[in-house]
């Protein structure tokens, strides 16, 4: 078997995707999401944990099962279902812990939060961060943070209940169904980390590689879900005596959206296999742009319905926009990838 043959998910991966799709659909939903937007609480961690989803993509020696490609197809289904349970946050936390060498099996028994911020960690592992948005920050048993200092980077695991952790912003404006609350850590004396690892700045992208693949897979799923919704709508909505999907002005935009989703999916699968920093930056950037573009198109094709609370498209749009810049905005990622490639080429 050559490497490229791994780009086709095997039977195990496909079975996993089917199971995840059915299970996530039962947890989803636009109804759950709308309730969350109105301030309801979104649960679902138990189902995710019992399904064994948090062990996927974790190396076997750390008690995990499955490969990166399995993690990708599973997170794609989560993104497609607009899952509100903190599965992506946990995947980001665990992948990053594994890459930094601070993972413990027990961390996977509870929901995790994940964030990236500027800050500093001292030699005793005390961490100071002025402001960090933590995905899955509500109800997380531990925060995994990538703290960027002027010359180094740290990966820390901290207890949200620990002394010195303050919630500074509870409201999430863009996508309240997957909250991104902000915290301040150790304003005065620092917060003691349960685990920490100092890395050279040049190691940042190596440590974030797996997290980028996870975010990108979630975004591809959201884009694919929006594409399905848009196609369904244009087949059913009639104007000028025919389904609006018959018009080339509509057809070509959807064909481009389909092409964009397939291209993004290819980049994500490729990045999952290589975990090369450049590949992961590109996959993250492309998936982010694709999700924003396809969810916007979904809104446009819905006509006036597109800007109502009742229509699903704003749920997809909110999810896409919030997730798209979670690990940096696309232009910054393209820039970083180009710099890596130029270093290799010159």
């Amino acid at each position: 078997m050559t490497d490229w043959q791994l780009l086709a998910p095997d039977e195990d991966s496909l079975a996993l995707a089917d199971t995840a799709r059915a299970q996530f659909r039962s947890l989803r939903g636009p109804a759950v999401m709308r309730a969350a937007l109105d301030g309801g609480v979104a649960g679902g961690w138990e189902t995710v944990a019992e399904g064994g989803y948090v062990d996927i993509g974790i190396p076997e020696e750390l008690g995990g099962i499955g490969r990166m490609i399995d993690l990708v197809v599973m997170l794609e289904e989560a993104g497609r279902a607009l899952l509100t349970a903190p599965l992506l946050a946990s995947a980001l936390a665990f992948r990053t812990q594994v890459a930094a060498g601070v993972h413990r099996e027990e961390f996977r028994r509870a929901p995790a939060g994940f964030g990236i911020a500027e800050g500093v960690v001292d030699e005793g592992g005390r961490c100071r961060v002025e402001r960090v948005h933590v995905l899955g920050g509500h109800g997380a048993a531990a925060f995994t943070l990538v703290v960027q200092g002027p010359e180094q980077v740290w990966v820390v695991v901290v207890d949200p209940e620990g002394e010195g952790v303050e919630a500074v912003e509870q409201d999430t404006l863009v996508d309240p169904s997957r909250p991104l609350p902000a915290f301040r850590l150790g304003h005065k004396t620092g917060v003691a980390a349960a685990e920490w690892r100092e890395l050279a700045f040049g190691d940042l992208e190596r440590v974030l590689a797996g997290a980028r693949v996870c975010v990108a897979a979630d975004l591809v799923g959201t884009a694919a879900g929006a594409l399905d919704g848009a196609v369904e709508h244009v087949l059913q909505r009639r104007q000028f005596g025919r389904a609006i999907g018959a018009f080339q002005g509509v057809k070509h935009q959807l064909a481009d959206a389909y092409t964009a989703v397939e291209r993004a999916r290819s980049l994500v699968y490729g990045a999952a296999l290589s975990l090369d920093p450049r590949d992961c930056l590109l996959a993250n950037a492309v998936a982010a742009e694709t999700a924003v573009r396809v969810t916007s198109l979904f809104t446009q094709l819905m006509g006036a319905m597109g800007v109502t609370f009742e229509a699903d498209c704003h749920l997809f749009l909110r999810r896409a926009h919030q997730t798209a810049c979670l690990l940096g905005e696309p232009d910054a990622l393209y820039l970083a990838a180009a710099r890596i490639e130029r270093r290799i080429s010159r």
Binding site: M1, T2, W4, Q5, L6, L7, A8, P9, D10, L14, V231, V234, L235, F240, R242, A243, G245, A246, F247, Q248, V250, K251, H252, L254, A255, D256, Y258, T259, E262, R263, A264, R265, S266, L267, Y269, G270, R278, D279, L281, L282, A285, V286, D331, L333, Y334, L335, A336, A337, A338, R339, E341, R342, S345, R346
Partner: protein, 368 residues
């Protein structure tokens, strides 16, 4: 690297000049080298590795053949001089040809000894190929062909033309078409080259056909079954063309990758083009992997769409990043112009979008 690709690499080491990689830009337009490469690769069984010995191949499995083609792309093997001969006509002859047609035509078409033209477009039938009006009437074992073809690439240098003609005017448009193998030296054939907008754009021609006699034995595929021959041969091309467009995209990016200074904006654009190149490569590979595994795969039209648009963006970026230096380097503009042809030939991007919308997304047929 597998054994088979290292054997292929050894063949390339023996064939290509020592400074080939370094001076690729020059060798890219070296007609003699390109002609000799095709013949040598055919003789050694590397040209179409999945075909049999004597056909330009060595009976490799699909994955091994793909590994060889990728290795070839990485080494930037010389481009074929007459791509539609080995890439489109030969597979059609191999699938649809009679024993006599295969014996006479397959080897020279694949090896590049005899060039081929594709007689598809007409003044009134471009994207709407089924509207073609060149007619052929069969009487006493001979077709009499009259009509006009246009945009016929390399017809002025080709020996043969896969000519699509209307043989049943009563049938629905795409049911009344046949494919004839036309000897371009036949009486009544007049070929007029069309001047292209720039030297890098491949030469194309008008072909006038005035009561040209074509023997019945030159029918390729079933009578009135030409549409199927056209679709399957174009599909064959679309399946593999991504390797070329990936190669062309990475090649077009080279000046930008090694340019001494770039603005942040140019770096962002470079990053996007790197994603383009990877998008083409990985979608091509994923399509091949899914087909090989017997799974549904992305529509092949997306490879045509992605590949051609990637080449265009990369050529635009190299031209624009060069700034005023482009005035002294004519190749940059020529390649930009050449890249604009990529979304037109082999089925325009608009047609690819219709195909994706109707066949893959299931949107209604027809084009209001």
């Amino acid at each position: 690297m597998t054994d088979v690709t290292s054997e292929f690499e050894a063949f390339l080491d023996g064939f290509l000049p020592a400074d080939y990689a370094e001076n690729y830009r020059h060798y890219r337009r070296d007609v003699k080298l390109r002609t000799e490469y095709q013949a040598a690769a055919f003789d050694a069984g590397w040209l179409v590795p999945e075909w049999g010995p004597g056909e330009g191949g060595r009976g490799l499995s699909v994955p091994d053949a793909l590994a060889v083609k990728l290795a070839g792309a990485r080494r930037r093997v010389p481009r074929l001089m007459n791509i539609q001969g080995a890439g489109v006509a030969a597979p059609a002859i191999r699938s649809y040809g009679t024993a006599a047609q295969r014996a006479r035509l397959l080897r020279p078409a694949t090896r590049g000894d005899e060039w081929w033209a594709l007689g598809m477009s007409e003044p009134g039938a471009g994207s709407d190929l089924a509207a073609l009006r060149t007619t052929a009437t069969l009487a006493d074992g001979v077709f009499t062909v009259s009509g006009q073809k246009v945009w016929t690439t390399q017809a002025d240098e080709a020996r043969w033309c896969a000519l699509y003609v209307r043989t049943d005017p009563e049938a629905r448009p795409h049911r009344g078409i046949s494919c004839l193998i036309l000897d371009l030296r036949s009486p009544g054939v007049e070929v007029r080259p069309i001047r292209t907008a720039g030297p890098a754009v491949e030469s194309f021609c008008e072909v006038f056909l005035d009561e040209v006699k074509v023997p019945e034995e030159a029918l390729l595929g079933p009578l009135h079954g030409g549409w199927g021959v056209a679709m399957s041969s174009l599909e064959h091309e679309r399946d593999m063309i991504w390797i070329n467009t990936w190669l062309e995209t990475t090649r077009a990016l080279e000046p930008t990758l090694t340019a001494p200074e770039l603005s942040e904006h140019q770096l962002v654009r470079l990053g996007r083009s790197l994603a383009d190149a990877e998008g083409v490569r990985l979608t091509g590979l994923r399509t091949a992997a899914q087909r090989w595994a017997g799974l549904p795969s992305p529509a092949s039209s997306i490879l045509k769409l992605l590949g051609s648009e990637s080449v265009q963006r990369a050529a635009l970026l190299s031209l624009e990043s060069a700034g005023a230096r482009a005035f002294d380097d004519p190749a940059l503009f020529d390649e930009r112009l050449e890249s604009l042809a990529a979304t037109i030939y082999g089925g325009t991007s608009e047609i690819q979008r219709n195909i994706i919308a109707e066949r893959t997304l299931g949107l209604p047929k027809g084009t209001p």
